[in-house]
């Protein structure tokens, strides 16, 4: 088992580095010049200012040296300075990551809370109204464009009905709590500031539903398919023949065996939610990493792009690693192979 863990870890690190190398090479083939993008019109026309800017960010160095310096800094946990925000990329990420982590986690929990039961019931009661409902939910969730859904939700629940608050993480005139973790729900609990907790929670409702919509669909469909497969197996028939309670057959026999694909999907879905919230964050003016990623990309902010790539690759690799580990626990045959 230990050997398995180490071999998986080593592969993971190589994978992350490969991902950064690929992105570095792609980013450098873009014809746009980040120095010209970052400087004002007058400075951009001043060769001395442009050269000074390039030197400051190491853009005047050969490609291999730029990448080598990136690796050196990475070894020290330093992502360098962002070209567009002009401060340490790490400071930007520390600023923006909590908003995304909070949103993605709530969206993920929401996906599980809705997707799992809906998928299970849809399988158990195949072709009933619940199954049709599950199919409709999945179809809408997967196929509705995020920005469209976000605007519709905002227009109905905020604009028309007034049930939900508007965009942002808190009401405009609310005072943000002192930063401890940056996760508002956690910070307000630690501080015992329940009014702000309710405000933050209310602001999370619409964006998390929007962000979760596609994942709910995926989890519902996958759970349903896996459960149907499990329910048709001989051991389930035997369990039923023994006269076991329906609940015991479903939760004790079928469900654990149906969980393998769901765990894989769930892991990837969480990684996706963490890294793919650009649209939701844009519409809801959510100060998270999604917007930061987008802005870094359009301004060809190399240090920020490289940092985000490393983080995204690491998140995916880590999640995959955890999924693999859980496989090993759920199904011991994996390790033996």
């Amino acid at each position: 088992m230990i050997r398995y863990v180490f071999s998986r870890l080593a592969t993971s690190i190589v994978l992350v580095l490969l991902a950064t190398l690929v992105v570095f090479l792609i980013a450098n083939t873009i014809p746009g010049d980040p120095a010209l993008a970052a400087l004002g019109d007058e400075q951009a026309s001043d060769p001395a200012a442009v050269n000074a800017f390039r030197a400051l960010y190491g853009l005047d160095k050969p490609l291999w040296e730029q990448y080598w310096r990136f690796l050196q800094r990475l070894a020290h946990g330093d992502f360098g300075r962002s070209i567009s925000s002009r401060r340490a990329v790490m400071a930007d990420i520390i600023d923006y990551a909590p908003a995304t982590i909070e949103l993605a986690t709530i969206a993920f929990l929401l996906s599980l809370l809705i997707g799992l039961p809906l998928g299970i019931i849809a399988a158990v009661r195949r072709d009933s109204w619940v199954d049709h409902l599950a199919r409709a939910v999945a179809l809408i969730g997967v196929s509705a464009p995020t920005f469209w859904l976000a605007f519709i939700m905002l227009a109905i629940f905020y604009g028309y009905l007034g049930w939900a608050p508007g965009t942002g993480r808190l009401d405009p005139i609310a005072f943000a709590p002192d930063r401890i973790t940056g996760l508002l729900l956690i910070d307000t609990i630690i501080l015992g500031d329940w009014e702000t907790f309710r405000d933050a929670a209310a602001h999370l409702v619409l964006p998390s539903i929007v962000l979760a919509s596609a994942t709910i669909g995926l989890i519902t469909r996958t759970t349903r398919a896996a459960m149907l497969e499990a329910l048709s197996q001989d051991y389930v028939r035997v369990a039923r023949a023994k006269g076991l309670l329906a609940r015991v057959v479903i939760t004790g026999h079928a469900l654990p065996n149906a969980m393998l694909p769901v765990v894989t999907l769930g892991g990837l879905a969480y990684a996706n939610l963490l890294t793919g919230a650009v649209m939701t964050e844009t519409v809801f003016s959510w100060p998270g990493l999604g917007r930061y990623t987008f802005r870094s990309a359009v301004s060809v902010d190399f240090p920020a792009i490289m940092a985000i790539t490393t983080i995204v690759a690491a998140v995916f690799v880590l999640v995959n690693f955890l999924v693999d580990m859980s496989y090993a626990m759920l199904d011991p045959r994996v390790v033996k192979k």
Binding site: A37, G40, Y96, R126, V130, A164, G168, P172, A246
Partner: protein
């Protein structure tokens, strides 16, 4: 499969688990608390990367900086060439003509301390020595000398060249030396490496503006509170919150619901939907920005565009009124050339008198003269972006159809903004459809751009007479004479026809009646928050 595998009760329980998760979050809404005395502005402030005046070079931070800092002089709305007093009570040339002597009014910083000549010198020295973008605007300032606590001399490199426009910029907002020094600020020659005050100035201010900056959460919100010591009288609101809202649709909903008092980034269609709604009004003001078509003059890039008459034919084929009235719903104006309306020598009358007008017969005649009777082909590059709610793609298609009427074939070449900027700045574009947004209100900076850096981008060598005209007009002290010279400059440039201004947008802001007075300005900071009143 309703054969008892799962009971109805269990089904309800399972479904309920999902529903409960939703309901738990659903709001018992934290609703409008006491919002009176708080002005909330909804605007996209994602470009804000610093609120240190001496390091600022973006589009939206001036709004905050103008509220938090007072400059020496300012501009009245509509007149952006004749400055009015702010912290400076009066000014005049020194006897030898080498400096501008400025007499300060008795004004206090937000701390309650008096604004002194020493603070002015320290601020301007710091801007210079930080060597960031704002230092370029002050390139004509040689040095600053304190005469007495309320008098300061600003020595100029080119004594005839105007400097008040630069002093009016929010990048020259006066800082309280003692406070900023306590936070690591310095105005020493090596300030670019030793000054440590920017981090503090990003969250706090040390100015004499109507409000005091008390916090900035990136991509979320900027908070300001009233400065009771403001020299212009008690400011209208206790607090101002500049709320980041990246999407115009979200701004629309928020201003309708009363969560924000003003929405800055609505597109014309959204503004139409608000017309006649109680409690809301639309404030509009011509900006000093404009959208223009730049044409290369290099035969290497395009043989036809190297010929002046061919470029003039393009200017004569464009349906300017159609762009303004149909594409922009009339919410725009047009300056004759590179000097926006609001500057000296640029009015709507100037545009009518000397600006290019659509005349297809003349365009065909010019094509004949240029030696391209059947027209010609050229590539135009533009960014994947929009200005005033109008995308460059739609604008380019309109130009394409206008030019096709005289046989000129315009090929569309959309690209990302960074790529566009790189190509244009390095003089590799045949033609570019883009936007001019000046860094500060300095009349001559528009004109010198056309004879210097923009000229280089279009591979154009400006004739000596135009260069001299710009120089003379810049130095001319008599406003009437100066005005005539700027008109002549525009006339000469229109002949060259490598820069064709298409429109100057009128920016519209939707304001709730919770802000009865809300004076917009084109001075760069969008609204005079110091004069806003409930």
């Amino acid at each position: 499969m309703s054969n008892g595998w799962i009971s109805r009760r269990e089904l309800a329980l399972l479904l309920g688990a999902g529903g409960a998760a939703l309901a738990a979050g659903l709001p018992d809404r934290v609703h409008a608390q006491a919002r009176r005395n708080t002005l909330v502005l909804g605007i996209d402030i994602s470009d804000t990367i610093s609120l240190d005046p001496a390091r600022m070079a973006q589009y939206t931070p001036p709004m905050t900086l103008n509220a938090a800092y007072a400059s020496l002089v300012s501009f009245a709305v509509g007149n952006y060439y004749d400055p009015i007093p702010a912290l400076a009570e009066s000014w005049s040339r020194t006897a030898d003509g080498k400096a501008l002597r400025i007499k300060l009014r008795e004004a206090k910083f937000a701390s309650g301390n008096l604004v002194t000549a020493d603070d002015v010198k320290w601020t301007l020295d710091r801007v210079k020595h930080l060597k960031d973008q704002p230092a370029l605007y002050n390139s004509n300032i040689a040095s600053v000398a304190v005469v007495d606590p309320r008098t300061v001399d600003i020595f100029l490199i080119e004594p005839g060249e105007p400097v008040l426009g630069a002093l009016a910029s929010t990048t020259n907002g006066i800082l309280e030396r003692k406070v900023v020094e306590a936070q690591g600020g310095t105005s020493a020659v090596d300030a670019n490496t030793t000054d440590k005050a920017t981090a503090w100035l990003n969250d706090n201010s040390a100015g004499a503006g109507a409000y005091r900056l008390t916090g900035w959460q990136r991509n979320q919100q900027i908070q300001l509170v009233r400065n009771p010591h403001y020299y212009g009288g008690m400011p209208g609101f206790e607090r101002i919150l500049i709320r980041h809202m990246s999407e115009s649709a979200a701004q629309l909903l928020a201003v309708q619901r009363g969560d924000i008092d003003a929405a800055f980034n609505l597109i014309p269609e959204q503004i139409q939907t608000l017309k006649g709604q109680a409690g809301l009004r639309v404030e509009g003001l011509a900006s000093l920005d404009f959208v223009y078509l730049a044409l290369t003059t290099s035969a290497e890039l395009n043989k036809a565009l190297a010929v002046q008459e061919a470029r003039q034919a393009i200017a004569a084929a464009i349906d300017y009124n159609g762009i303004r009235d149909n594409l922009l719903g009339g919410v725009a104006t047009r300056c004759a050339h590179f000097l926006p309306i609001g500057l000296l020598g640029s009015t709507e009358k100037t545009t009518r008198d000397i600006g290019p007008q659509q005349n297809l017969d003349r365009a065909r005649m010019l094509l004949q003269k240029a030696g391209f009777p059947d027209g010609f082909e050229f590539d135009v590059s533009y960014g994947n972006a929009a200005v005033s709610g109008l995308s460059y793609a739609v604008l380019a298609q309109k130009l394409q159809s206008d030019l096709a009427r005289v046989g000129i074939r315009m090929k569309l070449n959309p690209m990302d903004q960074v790529n566009l900027r790189t190509q244009y700045t390095t003089a590799k574009s045949t033609a570019v459809l883009t936007f001019w947004n000046p860094a500060g209100v300095r009349q001559f900076s528009w004109a010198t751009a056309t004879t210097e850096r923009v000229a280089a981008r279009l591979r154009w060598t400006p004739p000596a007479d135009i260069v001299k005209l710009v120089k003379d007009a810049t130095l001319e002290q008599d406003l009437a004479k100066q005005e005539a010279m700027w008109v002549e400059y525009q006339r000469r440039m229109i002949e060259v026809s490598h820069l064709i201004v298409l429109f100057q947008p009128i920016y519209q802001t939707v304001v709730r009646d919770t802000a009865k007075t809300f004076p917009l300005t084109a001075s760069g900071y969008q609204v005079e928050l110091e004069k806003a009143r409930p």
